[in-house]
Amino acid sequence: METVVSSKPLLATLVSLLVVGPIILSRRRPNLRESWTFLAGFIKLGIVLSMLPIILEGGVIEWTLWEILPGLALAFRVDGLGMLFALVASTLWIVTSLYSIGYMRRMKEHSQTRFFAFFAVALSATLGVAFSANLLTMYLFYEMLSLSTYPLVTHHQDREARAGGRTYLTYLLGTSVAFALPAMIYTYMKSGGSMEFVSGGFLAGSVSGGEATVLLILFVFGFAKAGVMPFHSWLPAAMVAPTPVSALLHAVAVVKVGVFCVLRVITGVFGVDFLASLGAATVIVWLASITVLAASLLALTQDNLKRRLAFSTISQLSYIVLGAAMLSESALTGSIMHIAMHAMGKITLFFCAGAIFVATGKKYVSEMDGIGWRMPFTMFAYLLGALSIIGLPPFGGAWSKWFLFLGSVETHNIYLTLVLAISSLLNIAYLLPVAVRAFYVPPGKGNTKIDLHEAPTACVIPLTLTAFGCLALFLFPEILLSLARLMGEPS
């Protein structure tokens, strides 16, 4: 395995942080301000892409800043998993930026400068997590992400935002300090001062089965961004945010950082083989299964479209955790791929929810009768996104579901296969009715005239792009698959 020393991961992380200054300085000129965001977005994507070939060849890129605690440095390390996540996040940032401009300007939101500035900070933190080489660096960026998204979640600054923001921070900050921090320190002590992620884990042999189980549970709950029940309520609460925030942060960045951390802990800290030998992951398997089903059932009961999507996200996140905790190679591949597939699908759905709100002011599913003919692009994109999430070919979601099913069969656990099957049915039950209503139910009484009334172009283009992205991911999954397989291989 080739190791390249390069400052690229650091630059990719920093580029959006550096752009915060220009964004604030050009607050009086919105067009200039937004072009900074795009500039940073493309540079970021460029840097990430430039690292891709090395990673695909099986190499890793490393960069160490400095040692911050004995034997523990602030360090970056890019491998397949990190690369995949960074690729998803930086691509979707550009798309979302375009969408945000359309959304924020049409809604005449206040404090747009603050919005774009903190968005950029949040992206830095996301890439920081993706590229971190050890637990401490990851924790640092994890906390940075929680804090930088608070102003975004509470953007409206009204009573509802206040309550939502309170729940948001209580859960995210509380769990990370109460669970993840002690687990991390304990790991540090047990491993003899090392926290570097290595494939196969570094804890093997230094903790007993009981300790490993407790630590794993602490980590899974501590990274509450993964939304494993009972620490999931922050996600529906965060839906008070403007839709672009929900779209990027709560379908891609924030929640995926949560599952990413869990994946890292399982693969890089404990090691799949070590956990398998202890049987320590069984608890996580069951917790995740319960979350998958319970969140799907809760999603059925939600009338607010964004809340419904939020519960759907909770359920889908637990697929990823479940896939990792199954400890089989196919399941792991599936769960890593699901990061990308779900991101693409769910961001489409959120974009659509936002577009509907921008165009018609409607938030509730029950109001959306017949809306499909007024907003054909949006609703068609919604249909594609929903099908991808459900896991039907020819959409990206089919691949990750396929590998997850394969993994559940490999583990010879019929219950898990059942969980996945039931939840797929539930996905259909809560996602498709929206599209069905939109296209087949006539829009209220008396109002038979159908006029085309789409959202702003800046909103429609991104959601169309991501909808076709779902399709593209089905047709060309090779890059993702090979990145995901890099993690499954024993080194």
């Binding site: 911050i68 640092l140 300090v177 109460a178 921090l181 002590m189």
Partner: protein, 505 residues
């Protein structure tokens, strides 16, 4: 010149105090430049001194050239070398901050204020340098007397708080003095290093007199540092004091007293006496746990911003006492590192609180809505300090917690670990309560335009002399965190000179 640094550090503020009291009455314009000048000199020489100490391990300065054990000596090792730099920095920052605040809060008392201020700094510097147990008492009293007077410079409640502080402070100092008396009876020496040698050579550890001396000294020191339940004097004294005074009192007095405790435990009595022979470690750590929890919970009950911060100091004292008494190196290093980081955190919080109170005239947390719009930079400072108190990397608060929790796990004291985590969570609640109020607008005013909010109330950022120190402190919090390794190396150097720390079975 080079070997006179310890004297310069102490004498610069001392002579400046005399000069201020003489010249200031004639022309009050002299006060501030003299104060700042002397503190700059002090800071420079303390940094130079720290450099010397880091190289040679220990600098001993004999006052009047009398050798140990006859004369009084100043002993500077990496531990108090660091502390000197911290004290000078904080004093300098607060003095710059005081330009505007002191003029508002204590008008017409400029020379008096700065004289007391400089004497307080002198006392604190002396407390951390001296190697003589009785001299320490005198310097403790110098620092205490000036703080009584500084607190009483505000009217009404502050005066009563000051009176209660006098009573409690005197009891504390007297207990300390008694302890020193008993120690002197048995060892015949007042020099700290010498006492330790006599204790070891003559096998005095079993003596009950030494036990009484140790108890008296500890109780005295605990009263002075407001270790729960001996904290009664602190919250009122610090919250009603003039904001400039509380900016230097709150960060420094308790921390320097914690240093005194460390010095007494490790240099005078020795870890082998405190931990191995007495074996009280568990009891004191549990007291510290109670202090942490009680301080945090009491802070939760406060509606006044400065009072809330004052109760947090009580909790933080618990962190440090607990860390010291956990009896292992990691925890001790953590406690000492926390002395430094907490000094800056407290400074940052009190500077921010002072700026808010001076500009808005509001004391209650619930009155602080919309502050992010009105004074964004002040709130940036406040938020950084708050994050540090909660323990979010890369602020220094995270690293001190890291070492302390590490030490707690090493010692197997899960109660202490849990207390630290619970108090972090309570801190999170406390500070986000403030931040939330400041971030959101008052619910009754539903105007969305920025202009109306900032325009109508007429409250803006504080002047640069207040904002500058605040932001410098906030940056310090990050720097201390990021470069914690360098500081910890120095601390370890000091800790290793204490000899092996005993473990309690």
């Amino acid at each position: 010149m080079v070997d006179q640094y310890p004297a310069i550090v102490l004498l610069a503020p001392f002579f400046a105090a005399i000069a201020v009291s003489l010249l200031g009455n004639w022309k009050s314009g002299f006060c501030l430049p003299l104060t700042v000048l002397s503190l700059v000199i002090s800071l420079m020489s303390s940094i130079a001194l720290l450099g010397q100490v880091a190289e040679s391990g220990e600098v001993v300065y004999l006052l009047g050239g009398w050798p140990r054990p006859y004369g009084i000596e100043f002993r500077v090792d990496p531990l108090n070398g660091l502390l000197l730099v911290v004290i000078c920095t904080i004093a300098l920052l607060s003095s710059i901050y005081s330009i505007r605040a002191a003029a508002v809060e204590t008008p017409d008392k400029c020379p008096q204020f700065y004289t007391l201020y400089l004497l307080l700094v002198t006392g604190l510097l002396g407390m951390s340098m001296t190697g003589d147990a009785f001299n320490l008492y005198v310097l403790v009293e110098v620092a205490s007397l000036t703080s009584y007077a500084l607190i009483a410079m505000r009217s009404k409640r502050a005066v009563l708080a000051s009176f209660n502080y006098i009573i409690m402070g005197t009891i504390g100092a007297s207990f300390y003095l008694l302890g020193v008396g008993y120690l002197y009876m048995k060892t015949g020496s007042l020099n700290m290093v010498d006492i330790r040698e006599v204790l070891l050579e003559s096998g005095l550890y079993t003596s009950e007199t030494i036990l009484v001396a140790f108890m008296m000294i500890m109780v005295g020191v605990w009263i002075k540092m407001a270790f729960f339940p001996l904290h009664g004097w602190l919250p009122n004294a610090y919250s009603y004091a003039p904001s400039t005074a509380s900016c230097v009192l709150a960060p420094l007095v308790t921390k320097v007293t914690v240093y005194v405790m460390i010095r007494m435990m490790f240099t005078v009595f020795g870890p082998e006496y405190v931990f191995v022979y007495l074996g009280w470690s568990d009891v004191v750590v549990w007291m510290a746990i109670v202090a942490i929890l009680a301080g945090s919970i009491l802070a939760l009950a406060q509606t006044d911003l400065k009072k809330m911060l004052s109760y947090l100091i009580v909790a933080e004292v618990g962190y440090m006492v607990g860390g010291v008494w956990l009896a292992n190196e990691t925890a001790l290093v953590g406690a000492i590192y926390h002395v430094i980081s907490d000094a800056f955190m407290t400074l940052c919080l009190f500077l921010a609180a002072g700026a808010i109170i001076t500009k808005t005239g509001k004391y209650c947390i619930k009155d602080m809505e919309g502050l992010f719009r009105k004074m964004p930079w002040t709130m940036v400072g406040f938020v950084i300090a708050a994050l540090s108190m909660i323990g979010i990397p890369p602020t220094c608060g995270f690293f001190s917690k890291w070492y302390l929790i590490n030490g707690g796990i090493e010692a197997g004291n899960w109660g202490y670990v849990a207390a630290l985590l619970i108090s972090s969570l309570i801190n999170a609640i406390l500070f986000f309560r403030v931040i939330e109020v400041a971030y959101f607008k008052k619910e009754s005013t539903d105007s969305d335009k920025e202009e109306t909010v900032s325009g109508s109330s007429g409250v803006g950022e504080p002047p640069l002399t207040m904002l500058g120190p605040l932001l410098v402190t906030a940056v310090c919090l990050l720097l201390i965190g990021i470069f914690n390794q360098e500081i910890v190396i120095l601390i370890r150097q000091a800790v290793s000179s204490f000899g092996p720390l005993g473990f309690i079975g």
